[in-house]
């Protein structure tokens, strides 16, 4: 009797701890985002006033200010261009590497995988200065392409790891079957592998887009005239009033959040492989 009683209470306590942890983690992520939202949609007076309201006023003044702010639209477009180039380049370079890792055995394969991860070990500030000097020498400084190249190197490790896990999820027999049915390696890829992997490739591309979209350091160092949205806001928000800081933050966070949410399934798959 007593064992079953203590069992139930243990189970109950366990459930309680589990529920509390989940709630805590959710709050950890959601509360700042919610506060950001509330303050973005509040009038300047409410943002700097006290006590705080936890219900947004739906005052779009701050957002309207940004829409008409000089250079803002230009920076937004720059961000989109850079992110788009990063997206295309990182898939064009990353996906073949992912395919090779999943399908072929070659010398130094493990080392290659390690090196891919190691590219993330160098802090960007360490690389930014020499890069800037190099970019000035070759004329890539303050260009969209130059920044996109840097962002591509940041995004490639993820592109390789995600596509590696995607390709590994497709049985090699499917490809072999296509070869015995009249396909070459290329047409087999085109008709069998590509249709199966396309959703994942899209997700991986969006992830690369988000990496570029969110990147601020390289953008701030490498561009002066052609600032991306992050660099532009960093530069201008520093001296802006509080309510504009909130609105600027909100503008940056929301697209990234939406994209990440859209591709979450594939990102989890990537971590599954990376953890092995």
């Amino acid at each position: 009797m007593s064992t079953s009683l203590s069992n139930t209470s243990t189970v109950r306590a366990g459930r309680w701890v589990y529920g509390a942890s989940v709630a805590l983690l959710c709050a950890w992520v959601l509360v700042p985002i919610y506060l950001l939202l509330v303050n973005t949609l509040s009038s300047p007076a409410a943002v700097s006033g006290f006590p705080k309201s936890f219900v947004p006023e739906f005052d779009t003044g701050s957002l309207e200010f940004f829409a008409s702010f000089g250079g803002m639209i230009n920076a937004l477009l720059n961000s989109i261009y850079v992110a788009a180039i990063t997206m295309v380049l990182s898939i064009l370079i990353g996906a073949p590497a992912g395919y090779a890792l999943s399908r072929f055995e070659f010398k130094g394969k493990e080392l290659f995988r390690l090196l891919i991860l190691l590219t993330r070990a160098f802090p960007l500030p360490l690389l930014a200065l020499p890069l800037t000097v190099m970019f000035i020498q070759v004329g890539l400084d303050d260009t969209i392409l130059g920044l996109a190249l840097v962002h591509t190197t940041l995004a490639i490790p993820f592109a390789v790891l995600i596509t590696f896990s995607l390709f590994s999820g497709i049985p090699v027999e499917l490809e072999e079957a296509s070869w015995t049915l009249g396909c070459t390696r290329l047409t087999g890829f085109r008709y069998v592998v590509l249709p199966l992997i396309l959703p994942g490739i899209t997700a991986s591309a969006i992830f690369a887009f988000v990496i570029s979209w969110n990147e601020v350091f390289a953008a701030a160092v490498l561009t002066i005239e052609n600032r991306t949205l992050t660099a532009f806001l960093l530069q201008n928000l520093d001296t802006s009033p509080l309510h504009l800081k909130f609105a600027g933050g909100f503008i940056l966070v929301v697209p990234a959040l939406v994209f990440i949410f859209a591709v979450r399934k594939y990102l989890f798959a990537m971590w599954g492989i990376a953890n092995r």
Binding site: E173, E176, A177, S178, W179, L181, G182, T184, L196
Partner: protein
């Protein structure tokens, strides 16, 4: 005409010799089964014929044409994979028609052949389904139909039934045999299941450690195994071996009895007999019964003969129990002899 000629084919993976000097001729329309335990090289050989693996050395000819340098699509083969490999993003119809469309056949031919092979494999009602909506057996049928629709010279099958449950396997086995006999293609079928091999094959190639030990008709392989490995691998329970000591005039002493055997200089050779080829008699091999398994149709009796395990399949009406002493008389024309050292069969 699609005779297959395999000449001196060898395959080495890094340091591991998967196949060593394989020579095999498979005649047109023959059903050849490659039989062996896992790791014996049978699948590697099949994949070399298909072009999915390259041989380290040797030649492969199909229909008088050397093909070992060609990609799979130009070899006139079709293959059925162990895990079916049905394309998940295509309907059954598109799967079966995939090869034909790759060959750029006119749409009327595609329609006609897909429908014909689908009805041959009894899946015409599934043509609009996707592979995720099919059972294992249905997927297997799609895989076979997809290969047959190509009307290949040679159809290669890699353990196609091993993922099916026992009952379905029996059903598909019989069906495959009928369909392939009608299709008039040469077939190579890889399996580790000796019953499947016996029931399907025109000829069986028994493989062991990267070599073909014997290639012969099922009955020949069963009755006259070329080596102890074949004798022990085929048949359930497998052949019995007892040590035989040399005596006068090519007579050999086996567990207290004398039998006429081969000429040999060896002092000891192996006497071999199938479990069903012995009967209880007044004289014969001295046997002490260890275990009796009544299986309904037969009685499986495990005994001790000459210090070795010896299995006999006896009439189920007999009353035998553990501890009994029996005299087991072998049917004289069924006795086989093997060299103790080379394990090869000895001619009488």
């Amino acid at each position: 005409m699609a005779e297959i000629l395999i000449k001196n084919v060898a395959k080495k993976f890094e340091t591991y010799q998967a196949l060593s000097d394989i020579n095999l001729t498979i005649s047109d329309r023959e059903f050849m089964v490659l039989l062996g335990a896992s790791g014996c090289g049978k699948t590697t050989l099949l994949r070399i014929i298909a072009g999915l693996e390259t041989a380290t050395s040797g030649e492969v000819w199909i229909g008088g044409k050397r093909i070992d340098h060609l990609p799979p699509k130009d070899r006139g083969i079709a293959m059925v994979f162990q895990n079916y490999a049905v394309f998940p993003h295509m309907t059954v119809f598109e799967n079966i028609g995939f090869g034909l469309r790759m060959q750029k056949q006119p749409e009327s031919v595609v329609q006609e052949r897909v429908k014909r092979t689908a009805s041959l494999m009894h899946i015409e009602q599934l043509l609009d389904r996707y592979s995720g909506e099919l059972s294992g057996g249905q997927r297997q049928r799609v895989a076979v139909a997809r290969a047959l629709a190509m009307e290949p010279d040679v159809i290669l099958m890699d353990e196609p039934l091993s993922n099916l449950d026992a009952l379905l396997r029996l059903e598909m086995r019989a069906e495959l045999k009928g369909v392939l006999a009608e299709s008039e293609t040469t077939a190579i079928y890889v399996t580790h299941d000796q019953v499947e091999a016996m029931s399907l094959a025109d000829r069986i190639s028994v493989m062991n450690r990267g070599e073909i030990v014997q290639a012969a008709t099922p009955m020949e392989v069963y009755r006259n195994p070329a080596a102890e490995f074949v004798a022990g691998f085929i048949g359930n329970p497998p052949m019995n071996f007892v040590v035989a000591d040399r005596s006068e005039n090519n007579q050999w002493r086996v567990a207290g009895e004398y039998y006429p055997g081969p000429k040999s200089d060896a002092d000891q050779i192996h006497f071999a007999i199938r479990p069903e080829d012995v009967v209880i008699a007044d004289a014969g091999l001295d046997a002490r019964v260890r275990l009796v398994e009544p299986l309904g149709a037969h009685l499986h009796v495990t005994c001790d003969v000459g210090g070795r395990m010896f299995r006999a399949v006896l009439d189920s009406g007999l009353e035998v129990k553990a501890g009994d002493h029996l005299k087991l008389q072998p049917q004289l024309d069924r006795i086989r002899w093997f060299d103790k050292n080379t394990t090869k069969a000895l001619e009488v």
